[in-house]
Symmetry: C2
Subunit: 355 residues, 2 copies
């Protein structure tokens, strides 16, 4: 039997607030009856929304706050003004052990900054990362960092590998996930110094993951590996470019299917097939970036999503909370950094030797 888990929700986050957050939680509760919720935000708006979901209302608690972080506040502004806000309190609840995970559809930069401040990075981790679930032709993979930081050293990229592997273990249930390093080619001479040094590190130190070497951009969607590691600048650009390309092809497809009467008729007949395609490409199906590397689970939902999409983010938070991920990751990071510190000079291949 699944163990009971409490999820703390920022009811005011995203473009729609309680009108989407509450029915989203209700959908997730149908799938995971072991869940209960704490909603943070405008009490009367939340209670109004809960009135339509009696089963959810029974498993929910509402904590009122009138402080809300704006969708366009800069992280530094948000940090100063957000104490006691509907974004702050769920993270505080995770820290205090009242909830097992926090979910917000609010401002990404602010959420990252507040989560880092309240939950603190796991000992040994210099930089938490934002991980995205990425649909592949096989199933899904995890890509990190998709934009929490700009740039990453070899040791930080190696931490990302362990963080991604911990998430893959939690949600894909693979004990030794395959991990690739995103690069501009698969030969050892390719890439920048950090990527080459991370490659040397990941090859030479034994870790609880299956490091497969470099992967290129076109191998992400092909499902070449369970976890793709990249620093946040290129990772964010890859993610947005993939989203844009998918939309672009959608536009092409619509144009093509209305290019003649016969095509229109064919598309009508094939509408079941197009529904299959639409489901497959539905961004709501896989919704939720996860901040990895903190002492607690914080999931970011897309701000513009609907209840169906928000429920996916809650599902993800539940799976992560149910996995013992943080204890395992803390231990893996500890072992890695000890090995790194203990490695005799030269045993961790310097970049120049990797030519």
């Amino acid at each position: 039997m699944a163990s009971p888990k409490t999820i703390a929700l920022d009811a005011m986050g995203g473009d729609h607030g309680p009108g989407v957050i509450v029915p989203g939680a209700a959908l997730s509760l149908e799938r995971h009856p072991a869940l209960s919720f704490i909603f943070y935000g405008d009490e009367s708006a939340i209670n109004t929304a809960l009135a339509a979901h009696p089963a959810l209302a029974k498993k929910s608690r509402v904590v009122h706050t009138s402080i809300v972080v704006g969708m366009h506040d800069k992280p530094s502004q948000a940090l100063r003004r957000s104490k006691g806000s509907s974004m702050w309190l769920p993270l505080q609840a995770v820290k205090d052990g009242e909830a097992h995970a926090a979910v917000s559809a609010g401002n990404t930069g602010a959420l990252m900054a507040i989560a880092k401040l309240i939950l603190r990075p796991i000992a040994g981790i210099e930089r938490p990362a934002l991980a995205a679930l990425w649909p592949t032709t096989k199933s899904e993979c995890i890509v990190l960092d998709v934009g929490a930081n700009i740039g990453a050293t070899a040791s930080q990229l190696s931490d990302f590998a362990l963080m991604g592997a911990a998430m893959a273990r939690a949600i894909f249930h693979i004990e030794k996930p395959s991990v690739g390093l995103l690069n501009v080619g698969t030969e050892e001479v390719k890439g920048n110094e950090d990527v080459k040094a991370a490659h040397a590190l990941l090859k030479s130190i034994e870790l609880p993951l299956d490091y497969t070497g470099f992967v290129e951009g076109d191998q992400i969607g092909h499902g070449a590996v369970d976890v793709v590691v990249v620093e946040g600048f290129a990772g964010n650009i890859a993610l947005k470019t993939a989203e844009g390309t998918a939309r672009q092809i959608g536009v092409y497809l619509k144009g093509a299917m209305t290019s003649s009467l016969l095509s229109k008729l064919g598309a009508l007949l094939a509408r079941g097939g197009f529904r299959v395609l639409k489901d497959k490409m539905d961004p709501r199906r896989i919704n939720g970036g996860t901040f990895l590397g903190l002492n607690g689970i914080a999931v970011k939902s897309h701000g513009g999503t609907d209840a169906y999409g928000f429920a996916s983010a809650v599902d993800l938070a539940y799976e992560m909370a149910d996995s013992g991920l943080i204890a395992r990751l803390s231990s893996d990071i500890d072992v890695f950094h000890h090995k790194l510190a203990a490695a005799p000079p030269g045993s961790v291949q310097p970049v120049s030797a990797a030519k």
Copy 2:
């Protein structure tokens, strides 16, 4: 009337050699009768292929060489061994004024290194870049650098902007092309230091282009700007990720259209529409990376393409050669670097002031 142009071709480059290069040139000649060609490579193989294309044979000259750069040679190896090769000689012909442009479907890294050595960068340009044509929902845009270099300073990114604008002027016939800087967000605080400094530069110095600010990955395929500037690591990852996503959606679409009998029937009826889509997404239609910033035009075709695809690369070389691009670019770069050097300290906004 179009002026006569001679294109020098590496007949041995790519996966198929003269069997693709020669019929590719024949196709391009049908579209551009002002073209003539010099083929470099195995004389008998080239002549055998030319025998099937008498109109092309009349406008072609063959220069024999038995030296060929391998598809997997490292650039440094290739540089040492490539003198007199079928890749080297076309570039030498451009330098010597015998040809207006060179095209090769061979090893990208080797071609870049040899082109740089023979043609030399335009005065003031520290780093030539590889530019890709990128299909958009509106038409096409130019993205550079897609992998010639790793990393770029603010001044180099600004050079890329001028180089991309020169290419846009040549092939899109827009006098003042719009140029965006690829970043992880559109706010001024986002991005790494080089990108922020380049943004400040491009905003403060008047250039013969319309600088529109930051663009994100999903805006490339949307056709937000004519030219997208990015350093080569992230640019290559963006390009490959877009290619991979397009292939991935192709797999989804095929699966969806064969998911039921009715869908199969519908897809059959709509086959005209699917042909429109296939044409639209045909990678052969837009084939050819261009090395920009050199004193001569060198175009790289995909190695695995067919005659139809190779003809697109030759068309591109022709359009570039016919445009007076290099003289104009040299002058633009000269003016830019003079302005940059003459700018009183503080007039070019430092990064910290851009907050």
